[in-house]
Symmetry: C2
Subunit: 670 residues, 2 copies
Amino acid sequence: MAEIGEVEDHLADERRKAEFDVSAMKVVWAGSRHELEITDRMARIVASDPVFRKDNRAMLSRKELFKNSLKKAAHAWRRIIELRLTEEEASKFRSSVDEACYPDLHWGMFVPAIKGQGTDEQQKKWLPLAKKLQIIGCYAQTELGHGSNVQGLETTATFDPETDEFVIHSPTLSSSKWWPGGLGKASTHAVVYAHLITNGEDHGIHGFIVQLRSLDDHSPLPGITVGDIGTKFGNGAYNSMDNGVLQFDHVRIPRDQMLMRISQVTRDGKYLVSDVPRQLVYGTMVFVRQTIVQDASIALSRAVCIAVRYSSVRRQFGSQNGGPESQVIDYKTQQSRLFPLLASAYAFRFVGEWLKWLYTDVTQRLQANDFSTLPEAHACTAGLKSLTTSVTSDGIEECRKLCGGHGYLCSSGLPELFAVYVPACTYEGDNNVMLLQVARFLLKTVSSLASGHPPVGTASYFGRAEHLMQCSCEVRTADDWLKPSVILEAFEARAARMVIACAKNVSKTLVLEEGFSEFSIDLVEAAVAHCQLIVVSKFIEKLQQDIPGSGVKEALQVLCSVYALSLLHKHTGDFLSTGCINPKQASLANEQLRSLYAQVRPNAVALVDSFNYTDYYLNSALGRYDGNVYPTLYEAAWKDPLNDSVVPDGYHEYIRPLLKQQVTSRAARL
Amino acid sequence: MAEIGEVEDHLADERRKAEFDVSAMKVVWAGSRHELEITDRMARIVASDPVFRKDNRAMLSRKELFKNSLKKAAHAWRRIIELRLTEEEASKFRSSVDEACYPDLHWGMFVPAIKGQGTDEQQKKWLPLAKKLQIIGCYAQTELGHGSNVQGLETTATFDPETDEFVIHSPTLSSSKWWPGGLGKASTHAVVYAHLITNGEDHGIHGFIVQLRSLDDHSPLPGITVGDIGTKFGNGAYNSMDNGVLQFDHVRIPRDQMLMRISQVTRDGKYLVSDVPRQLVYGTMVFVRQTIVQDASIALSRAVCIAVRYSSVRRQFGSQNGGPESQVIDYKTQQSRLFPLLASAYAFRFVGEWLKWLYTDVTQRLQANDFSTLPEAHACTAGLKSLTTSVTSDGIEECRKLCGGHGYLCSSGLPELFAVYVPACTYEGDNNVMLLQVARFLLKTVSSLASGHPPVGTASYFGRAEHLMQCSCEVRTADDWLKPSVILEAFEARAARMVIACAKNVSKTLVLEEGFSEFSIDLVEAAVAHCQLIVVSKFIEKLQQDIPGSGVKEALQVLCSVYALSLLHKHTGDFLSTGCINPKQASLANEQLRSLYAQVRPNAVALVDSFNYTDYYLNSALGRYDGNVYPTLYEAAWKDPLNDSVVPDGYHEYIRPLLKQQVTSRAARL
């Protein structure tokens, strides 16, 4: 994004160093020319519209912030209509606005829930209302006392055959719905998850469409208590969202507001299960989690873009003969923290792209009643959700630290990016719970090897378990570590050996569940090894494709090696203790890594330019395209509310009496 | 701290499980009965005073927050006088107030700078003013473009012999003083660091006392531009502090306001160096950094206290036969993340205690002109500053994640604790720069081995380098890992081998500086290994002392083993690749670790009760002493400003028009 007109480009030298075609890399990052064109066009429209201004966001009070985000949502909706945007364009437009608000849940959870779980008739009734925003919906699942364990929810929906209604009720404080985004203040409706009870029998958790607020004046309907759950982590950040609390006091809804695609309650209270396969629910999970992986690559790349640009502008130490100090990005220790994150951003982008394909594949199979790949696809997306969101959260904070003290200022953009991102580690499946699910899948894969079930997809390397258990790494020189086949086998052997060692330990215990619990720490580490292998292998696969553009593939090959070898270095203990590599080979990998960092160095700024982010989107004094950092920081400072007056409010009451030694007198009583 | 009266203690079962005497452990944690008594008394006075209320801090605007913190500072000052507190009590009182404000810098930096660098005459003039708060001072060193590298500062102080004054000047934008706490709005004076120039000659960086604001009306003096640098990371958090920006336009101060203890400028502009040893500056660094290590143990223990209590209250999954779900703290994966942090909090507490002794020792030696231990003490505190602040920052965030979604709410107390703590990784020596300094010290230690200089203090294990390079670990059973001598030798061998390997690599390069740069990544890892060894060895030494109280020493022994073995697990790659242990021994260490976690489990809540924190101090719905978590979260939610009205501000302008489909009409224009 060239915001540069007549002003000086402080990063021009860096851009001249680049050894590849940035415009071609932009296409690779975006996924296609088409994607690049739309993303770029939407980003520019949003960036140039003053209503979407966000540089003051960190300084707004909660109420101002929320009101402003309602304003932006309404304006976005209007602009989308005025510009006659397609669904694809509208979605990019909304993400360019880059502010959490009720439409995220309305479009991302409420509408899909009705689509996925509603009958044709229900869809016909509710979807047009939702799609025109005549109603605003949210997704009310988690409760104050219940998060990941959906079966533990306490809200009840009891069928009353007398009136043909369900009675929705919150029996305890801990059953209060808690966290749903858009619930606190904006939504008129919710899909509420509750235990379905008919004739005194509990049929488990089901979804119900419940109106919460009057469509006339927005006041809560009788029996409904609803509000916001309070301020969340960070300045601005997720506080633009009204995550809510909701309690029901025997709220009645008509029977036809239970989402009945998969199971029904009849007029006389009978519970019926349709022949629609329940596995469809997992298809939705695969969808949601693959979008989370894509979001991870975006969030991480934003942070890396800021840190790379500022590290190139910033100078510290190393001045010789009175010349300028060294650019911080030239320090090896800076490179060793920054470049693996740059490589991870690309790696996550490519594995996210592949997950899109996986979702399409799973959907087609489900439609053909083929459930054979579903467990593998489910484990794969759960694991990658966990891996990429954890690395991204930590990575954003690492980038903030890599910017030194100034990264701590909101004007750097990094504090808000961190605070708004970290919930991704918890929502849609807590990352630790996800890894335990992957571990279960891996144990099942191993145990079914004996029964002749060939493992599929990302688990297919277990088909070569015998070889992987005894193979030895062939690396003799540092350059051997550049061979994709060598990397792949090392990562496969490590994952296979860790998983199989766990399986053996677990199988020794009498009760499987106890064994699973006893070795859960090792199992989680094995699951991480498996997930890292997936990312490495998909990066390698990507590079086996045709990638046009001068120097583009070469630059990506370096990043792919950086990604794999920095992981290998971080987890040397795994590789050594499973005997996949020896200490000499570990040392050669480090040697290669040092040389790879030197190869990334001249391309670093161009590699982050390729993300094609506008200055508006980055919202960072440190990450500006033109590198004009210090005047920007300086100007931003004076806009702080505390600088509204030279002498601060409070001086006369609380500073002057001290200086004048009047503090202990009665007159100075506060 | 027993806040429990007639209310139910939800953690009573946990407290009954404890296998040690909590009141005796409180003494161990506090350091002595005397310390415990004072800390406890001051904490209770502050907690019961409504002026010090902080539960609404995360919701205040920047201006409200700042004004409120001025109020607290004035009130604290008044109470300290009224209660006739000793200096020791006053200091504990201020830390109990737990809000960053200008007195931190006034007492912590401005006063010590005058004490350390001022002549007797200067001290006599300025200290009484400062000690009565007739002036408020800050410490103006870092600049917009210059952080860790003090020599790179650009501000100048040019002596004008005509008027016998210094002219303080900011020649560029990047020379603006930037970050000093208390500067933005509160301070009347500053110690300003600038290049001293006399007769056209630059004598390097020196300190000057400069008045910034009028003592009559607090307005900035002529030539001075001063303000706040803007909002920082997090809600509440460090935003109560007015970190400032300051520019000088040829500001004149009398010659006697240069701090002249170490060097002087005479009336005719001659530059003289006194015979006061310059090494005294390093003594101050040792002092400041040892307090940072102590603060680390406090911050980490607060987070761990919240996470342990909430993990004991919170239940999830594992319900059998309709009974309650399992306590989250019973999951091994939760224990494996939480208990090493609990152990680290105790480890940092003990190493901090030892550093207090080290500072006393160094001070006494300096007074006797013995500089022999100074480099070692300096490296040791630099390294421990880096290690403990990094682990603490990451540990607070890990504790937050261990609390699941609710940890993301400000009412959990964890977001603010994180945001207010993280600058410790950057201030007073960036953590990465600190590790490079340790690395330099270690290289020097190795190179002087040959010349017969015996290494001292925490580096003395290099005296046994020959043995450590070839010794082999004797562990044959998991229980062997409980022997302190075994642990110690493994950690010593690992550190020695890593350092010596680096030294060899560096020595192969032609230019030492290039070698240092080329292998800086490995050097930093070696420095971390050295610092971890220090913490492990001081924990072991602590346990060799007499520790009274039933079960107290036993509980600490378990924590010590958890600390060491969890580090060994995390860094297995180091231990294996240097051949200090073999894969079988690594696996036995893991086995022992699993068993240790089971031993920590019944003591977990009692171990955090021993920190003796009030509910006021923790400021966390999740960390309450009585475990009454959910009603507290619920009540906190309703206090959010967004809940002031049921229908949110903005409904009529930005929600209703959408619902009523009036959004594209001109009337709805925003």
